[in-house]
């Protein structure tokens, strides 16, 4: 069975006065029906732009998909018109964002905001839409939904707002939910509530999730597959059991060593990755991680490594890795 969403060599650029910013530069992955794909990476690696490209939410005139395919149930969304995308967004694919306050309209009650998408997409009456909104609030476990529905975003806490965002996103039964750092702005105890809610709803509704995060802990617990992004490319992809047990790409290894308590607890000094992420205006030639990589050789500067399957289901893009793996 084909995957729900297949992203093939996606390239997205922003055309700025300083030049072309190749934010996403050849990204390929699948999301299976009912599964969670975790996309991890640091700021500016292109993980959010990947999701925005799927949704056609790049700022007009500046950002554009310049190559590759976004196959959703076999249809290439990259070629869809704005009109066609309207039927996809909300109905088929919806998205939640990091900052629930800025994604909600402060002058409309939350009920109006949830009902709006139901009415637009499903053409039901006002009354039906309101009932649906109450039902959705109940689904995301907001107490007293028939009272809460008339409240405004400022009356809710951060965790509640994120619940409302989820209710809104799921109100038209999408098959794919894209969650861009959904818990980053929340406290850990509230984060735990929201992550549990997303997992429960996923099981209940059978949807797929693209979970974008910088937190390795969150992907380890939520994802069925993990893709690590660096400088606009996926550098490693595998199931979490594999990637956390034996990460192969030097960047993934460095990332895990950077988080206190992931590798060795007793070690008092962290093995930090030296240097900083290169500028997307001038990606280095060859492997983009080589300037910060301890394994880098001259050959790393000449060719851009492909994503290769080093063992079943474990894809890595590094010239040095297949050799060390076969030698081991």
């Amino acid at each position: 069975m084909a995957a729900l969403l297949q992203i093939r060599d996606l390239k997205t650029s922003f055309f700025t006065s300083d030049g072309e910013v190749r934010a996403v530069d050849g990204v390929t992955f699948d999301i299976e029906e009912g599964k969670t794909m975790g996309l991890v990476g640091e700021s500016g690696c292109g993980k959010s732009v990947t999701a925005l490209s799927v949704m056609h939410l790049l700022s007009k005139g500046v950002g554009r998909v310049v190559g590759g395919e976004i196959l959703y149930r076999g249809q290439n969304l990259a070629e869809f018109s704005d009109q066609q995308m309207r039927d996809i967004r909300g109905n088929e694919i919806s998205m939640i964002f990091q900052e629930p306050m800025t994604s909600l309209n402060p002058v409309f009650s939350i009920g109006d905001q949830i009902a709006e998408s139901v009415r637009l997409h499903q053409g039901v009456s006002k009354k039906e839409a309101r009932d649906r909104a109450i039902e959705m609030l109940q689904l995301v476990k907001i107490a007293e939904p028939d009272k809460r529905i008339d409240e405004y975003p400022h009356q809710l806490s951060g965790g509640m707002r994120q619940r409302v965002m989820i209710a809104m996103a799921l109100s038209c039964n999408p098959s794919l939910l894209m969650a861009d750092e959904p818990t980053t702005a929340l406290d850990v105890t509230i984060q735990a509530q929201i992550l549990e809610l997303i997992k429960e709803l996923q099981e209940q509704l059978g949807m797929s999730v693209l979970l974008i995060t910088h937190d390795l802990g969150v992907v380890a617990e939520q994802a069925d597959e993990v893709a690590v992004m660096y400088a606009g490319k996926i550098v490693e992809r595998a199931k979490p059991e594999i990637i956390f047990a034996h990460p192969a790409h030097p960047y993934t290894v460095g990332l895990m060593n950077s988080v206190p308590g992931v590798t060795d607890k007793s070690k008092k000094r962290l093995e930090a990755i030296p240097g900083i992420v290169p500028s997307p205006l001038h990606w280095p030639s060859g492997c983009r991680f080589r300037d910060r990589c301890s394994l880098a050789e001259d050959s790393c500067g000449r060719t851009q490594p492909d994503l290769v399957e080093i063992e079943v289901g474990h894809w890595v893009s590094c010239l040095k890795v297949p050799l060390t793996a076969s030698a081991a």
Binding site: V259, K268, R269, E271, I273
Partner: protein, 327 residues
């Protein structure tokens, strides 16, 4: 002897409403905190947003005036000091802020930012000053030629290094790090944590390390204090807190943190509800409405922080001060 000791520190922010600004209540940001920081140690302070941890950190330096309570630094009570005396004291007490974009003056050159303290205190001028600042730049891993640059030319991690250099300029002994690495990406965060550790070893610094990130706090701290709604609910050595935390809030907080290990399935106690408002905190133990172990006494009496050796817990049900059995 403790380097810093605070006794029953309180900070209430008055709320005024209406045209005449009548006082209608208080935000009880810090509500009776007592603790001590030993010379050369790192005391971590964890808690969720709004629990008062930043207010506490700022009160220690009197950047916010405490409402009441005592702060004793190197044996001297500082809450009553006048402006001049306090300025002298601040040479030894410095702070690093969370947001490296907001905490550096965009119109000043890096050299001026770092050297400003030295100038104000009249400790160095001219070439002397410049030499000193150059030395600091090198110490925090920046290059000498960056002396004349402006903050916007630096990345977040580099800016945080500037903030660290500024805190070090006056040979401070005690540094409050208020979410100093929270705004940084993990790979950069690790660099700054290492830097802070190296500097601590070299200059025998004492850190008061405030963070919401439990893993970071575990990594850097010798002792950890857990704060909830303006109060310390548990304090102990880092090992003890993380392996044998007693207070139900400590345990819930630890179990809520996602573990980057897919093979370990954690037993999670997901707390219900949100943190209550510090304007009208719940009666008794302020955690009781969310606590899975709450009993009758918990809503009636406030549990004191009871110490057993270096392990203090404020709970009626668990820890050395327990008076009732868990049901």
């Amino acid at each position: 002897m403790a380097l810093l000791e605070i006794n029953n520190l309180v900070k209430h922010f008055p709320i005024s409403t209406g045209f005449f600004g009548r006082k209608t209540g208080d935000v009880k940001a810090v509500d009776g905190v007592s603790l001590s920081v030993e010379d050369g140690e790192t005391l971590g302070l964890v808690g969720e947003s709004g629990c008062g941890k930043s207010t506490l950190g700022r009160c220690l330096l009197r950047l916010i005036e405490p409402t009441s309570g005592e702060i004793v630094f190197e044996g001297e009570e500082i809450t009553a000091m006048n402006f001049e005396r306090m300025r002298e004291m601040r040479r030894k007490m410095q702070i690093i802020f969370q947001d490296p974009y907001a905490s550096l003056n965009p119109r000043m050159r890096v050299g001026e930012i770092i050297g400003e303290g030295l100038q104000i205190h009249g400790l160095a001028t001219g070439a002397d000053l410049k030499d000193h600042v150059m030395g600091l730049l090198e110490k925090v891993g920046l290059r000498e030629e960056q002396y004349d640059r402006y903050p916007h030319e630096f990345s977040g991690g580099q800016r945080q290094r500037i903030g660290v250099a500024r805190a070090l300029a006056l040979n401070a002994k005690f540094i409050v790090a208020d979410e100093a690495v929270s705004a940084l990406d993990v790979s950069i965060q690790a660099q700054i944590l290492n830097l802070l550790q190296d500097l601590q070893d070299e200059f025998e610094l004492t850190y008061f390390f405030i963070s919401h990130d439990l893993r970071v706090v575990e990594h850097v701290s010798d002792r950890v204090a857990v704060m909830y709604l303006g109060k310390i609910v548990e304090i102990a050595s880092a090992d003890k807190i993380y392996s044998d935390g007693q207070h139900p809030y400590t345990r819930a907080l630890l179990s809520a943190a996602p573990v980057p290990d897919p093979t370990r399935k954690v037993e999670r106690t997901v707390l219900q509800g949100d943190v209550p408002s510090p304007i009208n905190p719940p009666s008794g133990c302020s955690f009781h409405p969310r606590c899975p172990f709450a009993q009758k006494i918990c809503s009636e009496e406030e549990p004191p922080l009871v110490q057993d050796g270096d392990h203090g817990v404020a709970c009626h049900v668990f820890g050395p001060g327990a008076t009732v059995k868990p049901n």
